[in-house]
Symmetry: D2
Amino acid sequence: MYSQRYNLTIRDINYANHMDHLALLNYLHETRVRFLRSLGYSELDVDGNDSGLVVADLQCSYRKECFYGEEIVVLLQLELKSPTRLVFNYTISKNDDVVVANAIIKVAFISKERKIIAVPEYLQKLAKSINL
Amino acid sequence: MYSQRYNLTIRDINYANHMDHLALLNYLHETRVRFLRSLGYSELDVDGNDSGLVVADLQCSYRKECFYGEEIVVLLQLELKSPTRLVFNYTISKNDDVVVANAIIKVAFISKERKIIAVPEYLQKLAKSINL
Amino acid sequence: MYSQRYNLTIRDINYANHMDHLALLNYLHETRVRFLRSLGYSELDVDGNDSGLVVADLQCSYRKECFYGEEIVVLLQLELKSPTRLVFNYTISKNDDVVVANAIIKVAFISKERKIIAVPEYLQKLAKSINL
Amino acid sequence: MYSQRYNLTIRDINYANHMDHLALLNYLHETRVRFLRSLGYSELDVDGNDSGLVVADLQCSYRKECFYGEEIVVLLQLELKSPTRLVFNYTISKNDDVVVANAIIKVAFISKERKIIAVPEYLQKLAKSINL
């Protein structure tokens, strides 16, 4: 279980005066990038061999509006769907209220020759241990 | 069937040198806003009574990368799921190749007193005629 | 002297792999918004009478690139140019190196009837005491 | 004289319901990128030798608000300040009214070894002929 906290900034607020969906998506991506960095990797080099990560599917359900200055918590868990398909499951909350539920991003991995490769081993292991 | 064309700009391109998901989501929203405007309404006044539109669920599947300067076409179709739930189904393509498939945004409508209301009649009719 | 710290996120990085100018501008604006909020006001209600703040001029000089994950510090000082014109002077640094110098945003104030009004007194006072 | 037209989209509109400064800056950059592309180059390869363009100074004065759906015209002219310093002068208008005046972006050029180099000759020539 990996989590990050963010304070909503003015850039996150749209003409309807609440958090924009683009801002939300940004925080999902940012959390994934920080998670990979915390393990010594990045989205452009996910395994030390210049392999990359590509997003295949995205899904989320909005439960509550968020406003300027509020703090949100993004929680991240991994799930292994197949040897080549990893799922990032997110929950976003504020003050322990769920703001976004069922946020699911399915990713694949490609070698620098741009062929689909297996989910890197360290991520497979994290997915398994997380699912215990 | 409603469609809009967009040329990808430098703001749409991320550090991996392809179209960002935030940019993609932006074009889905922009197309919905233009569609409502073409009918004389907006997201902040969807029926002439200051009722609003709120996004409940979002889902999409990426098929292909897009790059700076490319033209994408966003196609929009309506589907009525229930008297209070409308679905915007999108397809995004470039040069007749599908770039994003199954892009689905489910929306609800709220009165200015912030109560859930029925899908406005003109949208119900458009959804039905589109489904013929 | 008012200051805020920010960690650069993936949204701040452009296709050239360094901080985008839009991101920089965002942090200047965000710092101004936080400053006004810290005093109990906002850009849409700068004096308790629904008066607003409008940016008239913007200027800045870039000295150094910034990269993903770096922390920047935005320093803000006020300068009163005339009874109706206030200047926000910013310096942006990372690890005590100046990243952006001479960042200057000149603002005016408008009543809710959209007429130019004097700089609110509490901001005039802060500008004076800061200039000592 | 080079010009481009843009329709303001929902992403360009901020919580105050007018065009954001970030959006404005985006259109200045996008116009410069299109201009270089129209000549067969890009910001990451400005001369066919992988030399890059870096923004050194930015300045602009706002004259008028812009709103969703409006069309703006960005006009671009070049001015050579020194053998190593080029200035992009912009004017932004809508319906022949000036929206942004004195928009000035000073740029320098760097070789792939990241040393300052002379302004590429084709840009020097365009700057001179424009100044006639």
